[in-house]
């Protein structure tokens, strides 16, 4: 059973998708469902013997192009709707071992071109209002298959966190005439203490308002809303800065740092959304090498994050992590 259930208290949709209880959970070591199929072995999700980058519909989707009708009736208090949308899996490489960090800048650049293409294709569907590209990395985040991969959720609504970002940006623009994110980027560059890295097109930093100790954002210097608006040069620069960021994460403590990685793009709901500004957000779940940051009662039940650290100190740690960057974020 699958449907959208409206939460009238928080005014947001909840997706139910009961078949996801049966999804693949930590498959045996000698069988990876995301590796290419090999003669004489059990078939995998990918029928072919190799690939560069491949996307496919998730076998256990939260949203579907042709969803079932809701199993419960819609009421005035509790509206329900079909869970229409698309959930894709994106395989970065046929190689089972490794992570996105180990891909070359050229390969990460190719992945960015694929992300842009999926944004165009999925965003053009008349029932899609938001294309969310993301990666959950590490068992701490609940990853059940280790093969390097990310996901795309194409939503029939704008997810609430993005809706808040868009509303804040629209309010700021109405009040000042400027882009909120451009102002944030300007403030971060002027202060400088929270900058981690930068190149010609992008800036990496631990934002002033970081909620997780090592929360890191990548802001585009140019005011643009989504990947398809980027030039080839900007996509290359994004690949380079993404590689630098991931290398720093892994060299921080000498472990492959788990994270949630999300691309925040403007919606595909038909409105221009000139107020929005492309950026990426990373939420590593650790607050020290051994200690996880849990989303406990205050975070989960009240919606207020308590960050036990200072963004200024964490940015300095990340600047020192290899490849080291100078105080202004340029590579040493």
């Amino acid at each position: 059973m699958s449907e959208l259930r409206w939460n009238p208290i928080l005014e947001e949709w909840v997706i139910t998708a009961t078949w996801r209880q049966d999804r693949t959970f930590l498959p045996p070591k000698d069988y990876c469902p995301l590796c290419p199929s090999r003669p004489g072995h059990a078939p995998t999700e990918v029928p072919e013997s190799t690939y560069q980058i491949v996307c496919f519909e998730n076998r256990f989707p939260s949203l579907q192009p042709e969803p079932p009708e809701p199993a419960v009736p819609s009421t005035d208090l509790y509206p329900v709707a079909p869970a229409q949308g698309v959930c894709e899996v994106v395989l970065y490489t046929p190689q089972h071992e490794g992570t996105l960090t180990e891909r070359s800048v050229e390969e990460i650049g190719e992945l960015i071109h694929v992300w842009a293409d999926r944004t165009r294709v999925l965003g053009a569907l008349d029932y899609i209002k938001y294309v969310l590209i993301f990666e959950n990395k590490g068992k701490e985040i609940g990853v059940t298959i280790q093969h390097p991969h990310g996901q795309i959720y194409a939503f029939p609504f704008i997810p609430p966190k993005l809706e808040r970002e868009i509303a804040s940006a629209a309010k700021h623009r109405a009040r000042t005439g400027r882009c909120l994110f451009c102002d944030v980027l300007r403030a971060e560059l002027t202060d400088g203490r929270r900058i981690v890295a930068q190149n010609d097109s992008f800036v990496v930093g631990v934002p002033f308002y970081a909620r997780y100790p090592y929360e890191t954002h990548i802001w585009s210097r140019r005011h643009l809303g989504k990947l398809p608006e980027m030039s080839a040069g900007e996509m290359h620069d994004l690949a380079a800065i993404l590689k630098t960021t991931l290398l720093k994460f892994d060299s921080l403590w000498g472990i492959s740092l788990p994270y949630m990685m999300l691309l925040h793009q403007s919606p595909t709901d038909g409105d221009p959304h000139d107020e929005f500004h492309f950026h990426m957000e990373f939420y590593p779940p650790y607050r020290t090498k051994e200690k996880l940051k849990y989303l406990a009662s205050v975070e989960s039940g009240a919606g207020t994050f308590i960050n036990d650290t200072l963004a200024e100190e964490k940015a300095e740690e990340l600047r020192r992590a290899a490849p080291a960057t100078r105080p202004d974020g340029t590579l040493e």
């Binding site: 199929s37 078939p43 990918v46 029928p47 072919e48 690939y51 560069q52 980058i53 491949v54 996307c55 496919f56 519909e57 076998r59 050229e106 190719e110 071109h113 694929v114 293409d117 165009r120």
Partner: protein, 55 residues
């Protein structure tokens, strides 16, 4: 979007499509990026992206 070959003109075997897949289309959405979309036997689609690599 430049379409490299009309889908109906491509024989699955020539396009490297396996027995578990049915070719939907092949095109080049941007220079240097080839996109091959197939239908899996359970009805889901799969899109292979191929790039001209320098190395």
């Amino acid at each position: 979007m430049a379409v490299q070959e009309p889908a109906e003109a491509v024989k699955p075997a020539d396009a490297g499509v396996s027995a578990r897949e049915t070719l939907i289309k092949i095109d080049i959405p941007e220079p240097g990026m080839r996109r091959r979309e197939v239908r899996l036997s359970d009805g889901r689609y799969m899109v292979y992206y191929e790039f001209e690599r320098r190395g």
